[in-house]
Amino acid sequence: MGQPRSHSKPRRSKLGVFKFASCDGCQLSILNLEDDLLALGQVLDIAYFPEASSDMGAGPYDIALVEGSITTSEDAHRILSVREQAKVLITIGACATAGGIQALRNWADVEAFKRVVYPSPQYIRSLTTSTPISEHVRVDFELWGCPIDKGQLLRVLTDLSAGVQPRLPSHPVCVDCKRRGIVCVMVAKGVPCLGPVTRTGCGAICPSMGRDCYGCFGPAEGSTQGPGLPPNTASLAKQFHQGLQLIPIEVLRRFRGINGYVKPFREESQAWEDVKREA
């Protein structure tokens, strides 16, 4: 007979939560797990989460959740060290995954921006761009949303701690409305809804609240890596222009929003920049 098998508990995965340029809303989604938060604290070792705890445990971490985009040279450096310390790096939210609303600076003169906000712009150090984490380091998994859906977060963390590769659906919000029997706001109200090109995840909140989707969860299926086709933004934009009578600048603004810097939306808004210029 050999040695009796050890029944000691498996080691808890060590979690770090890191913040870059952001509104803190996705980190709040972790605290908003409320009923599951204390249970999660037992399954995972929440080692580094400065917004919630003074105990800032050093790396390495099994899982790093990264909120926010890269907008300063210090942060471009800091993300490298987060990557070095993390086995699995997951971006949480539109800022970390796509550059966020602050990526609107990518089309603007940042020095002029500084002058609008600060009386002494020379003290403000900031890059001219706001970029997603994936432009700086390898990202293992991306959670979309502004904010992320806490159910999706919980699912991904549970999958990872069980050793399962997480998978999330990537079909358009449009499909959710059909499934739930929500009246189409574009047909019924004539509003420029981004549901046909926006990734599922929120639960079709906007149409269910009587308004147009504004693209919080980024482009639907296949727009980054992975299978499927990029969303047909050109067709939707044409419908906004010809069907709903939006002028080119209005079509442009529609795509240049919360996730405006992600490729399919960026290219569509650029196309309407050109239409606007010709007009």
Binding site: G25, L38, P50, A52
Partner: protein
Amino acid sequence: MAEGKHKTRTIKIDTVARVEGEGALHVAVKDGVVQDVELRIFEPPRFFEAFLQGRHYDEVADIVARICGICPVAYQMSAVHALEQIFGVQVTGALRDLRRLIYCGEWIESHALHVYMLQAPDFLGYDSGIAMAKDHANMVTRGLRLKKAGNAIMTLLGGRSVHPVSVKVGGFSRVPRRRELESLKDELLWARDAAIETVHWVAGFEFPEFLPDSLFVALRAPDEYPFNEGQIVSGNGLRISATEFERHFAEQQVPYSNALHCTLHGSPYFVGPLARLNLNHDHLSPLARQSLDGTGLALSLRNPFHGIIARSVEILYALEESLRLIERYEPPPSPGVPVVVRPGTGMACTEAPRGILYHRYRVDADGIIREAKIVPPTSQNQSRIEQDLRLFMPRLLSLSDDKEVALACERVIRCYDPCISCATHFLRLELDRD
């Protein structure tokens, strides 16, 4: 501890924990005298006021929500009120009640988070709410359930609690049916009792003796505790409308911080729950009044550490107010009033969980934003926090361990529930002992 002729001591907090956003503190001490206190906000600037230029007025509520995930409703409310002022739109009756109700939800959610998860651990000696749960599971569970009750109000009215989607100029994109609101009642009644217990619980904490002379500033309305409307009043007799804000309050930039400092006639001032309570306690609801009286504390409350009591009393107020608003709710004929665009400039101030939040917009004839100015509560409190630290520091200098000094400083900072994401447009402590 001090040897030699000139002793320099630098106390540094590299990252102030349990605050929303990123900041650091630098304190320089020379010969036992505090020379310099700098609250450095290194949260990267996000330039909201700049990229709002050129956007349509209808997009503003969705964009400004993204300034802060903890208090998005506050940003939405100040924005829609300022824009409605330009267009001459009046939001009254049930629509006004619903705005007040969603704001109550945000106060409950934000205050419960701060009281239970961020500040109570300071008084009970833990690193976090999660760590505190090991010994005080019932308390932490109660706090999280309270927070959830606030989130439930926001989710029902706004579709979700972080960045709600329904708030718009003129009203909402959708309003609830009566029975939907009634479905909240049972949980809010539980929460009201839990809030009474919360006031009692936090009033029993041990508070340092600390009575700085603060200038309190808050909104004040004729017959209600302030959320969306009211005049800006101060403890020394200021009484102005939001349109006059920039004639009295000025933002200054300091080289060490990405947040602007705001002063009233050049002096630091104090906004938030403690200021609101001191200036509006006569408008508290019955149970909130009774619970406050039950603490035996005499008004006005000047100790910043009593902020946790003010915050708890406001949770209770917001719950009583929510129940009152739900009770009298009759759905409005339309979810929003019609808006006709006209060019102009509008200003509004509303009471965010952390204090008054000022917005100004200039809109052209096509409804496009040409100029935006936003003054968040944390940039208003920043000078006051630095002054408190200057006054609080001397009693800490006998501590030889800089780490202990740093922890005590962080506790002072957390009294203000600073939201650094909001203020950059917060913390590392550096204590320089010379």
